[in-house]
């Protein structure tokens, strides 16, 4: 069984945020506005996070694109009282927002703060709903949502592959962020297949994970900057 994972090469990443916008466009994430932004309520499944280290003049800024880590041991899943967030046998941590009761325990338990909550009913300005992706649900008021590695693409890819009577190829399924990444800093694939590009890169000595010591075993692996 495949274990889907992502490798992000920070050395190649130019922090252009194409992935961030691609994610918004692909997954029907509602627009933010000045009010929601001021209150810290913007929804981003994928965000560019600045880690600023050291003081002037030795300032170092590390810019890290941060999707859901799709942990192998996700802290969010253990705490959900209704099973609205679960990990699939292929390692994708999904959010079933039709079942979610909006208690926000998972958001509070996630050490990476990747989950978002719909504080209001998501709104689209008149006419803008035409840009909605027909493959992805529009969420409701009061539920939690999160990065799903664009698993609707997996559903479609698998459907197509099965129908055509073949195995899922390595390029059949990639999330929107990886597809758009201009500097090709993001890789996506099967971590369980030792020959896959991601698996090879994940063994690199530059590889690290966010908050590794928590034992969450993220399936998003970063490659550090530098030689």
């Amino acid at each position: 069984m495949a274990k889907w994972g992502m490798v992000i090469d920070l050395d190649k990443c130019s922090a252009c945020q194409a992935c961030v916008v691609a994610c918004q466009a692909e997954n029907n994430i509602p627009n933010s506005n000045p009010e929601s932004a001021a209150k810290g309520r913007n929804i981003h499944w994928l965000e560019m996070i600045p880690f600023i280290e050291e003081e002037y003049p030795n300032t170092q800024m590390k810019l890290v694109p941060r999707p859901c880590m799709h942990c192998e041991h996700p802290p969010c899943i253990k705490v959900c009282p209704v099973g609205a967030t679960q990990i699939s046998s292929e390692g994708i941590v999904g959010q079933i927002n039709a079942r979610c009761i909006g208690c926000r325990y998972c958001t509070a338990a996630c050490p990476y703060t990747v989950k978002s909550f719909n504080w209001f009913k998501p709104q689209w300005a008149k006419g803008m709903e035409r840009a909605l992706n027909p493959d992805v649900t529009v969420r409701y008021n009061g539920v939690v949502e999160k990065c799903t590695f664009c698993h609707h693409r997996l559903q479609k890819a698998k459907d197509k592959a099965r129908y055509e009577g073949r195995e899922l190829g390595p390029d059949d399924y990639i999330p929107a962020c990886v597809q758009t990444c201009p500097s090709e800093a993001m890789y996506f694939g099967d971590l369980d297949n030792p020959k896959s590009k991601v698996a090879i890169l994940a063994r690199s000595r530059r590889a690290f994970q966010l908050l590794e010591d928590l034992g969450t075993h993220p399936k998003v692996i970063y490659l550090n900057e530098g030689v």
């Binding site: 679960q86 699939s88 493959d135 649900t137 698993h151 559903q155 459907d159």
Partner: protein
Amino acid sequence: MRQNLFKTIFFTLVCIFFIGEGAGATEQPIQYNHYKHTQELELECSMCHQGVKDKVRATIPSVEVCIECHSEPVTDSPEEEKIREFYSKGEEIPWQRLFRVPEHVFFSHRRHVTVAGIECENCHGDMAKRTKPPSKAPMKISMNKCLACHRKLQAKTDCVSCHR
């Protein structure tokens, strides 16, 4: 006195229940006879529901599909005439959908019908044998039913396999 109160409440609830149910009944624009088409004429389901085998969605036939056979009267049923009426007006027949999975469910017909070889009856009940359009889906589709079958056939039961 108190007994009456309980009776009232009970009655009200029953009323609401039925009103609610009544609203769900669907009236089709044409009294389509599935039995005649599928059993007597032995037509394939996919002849009209053209997506069944190779598309994600089965699709409800458009008027062009009907008119292929019914451009000239085949029977003396007054219902048949309606097809040509719609066609001549250039309108689609306003069929009402009975089977509907919620928006957050990904369901592919080709995967179930072609790849897994599931019979139509498993989900659609005796639809093919109905002589009149039913007012409700002959079989209710629920997640439990999906799961029961998936477990039986040892198919995936991951939430994200179907939910999007």
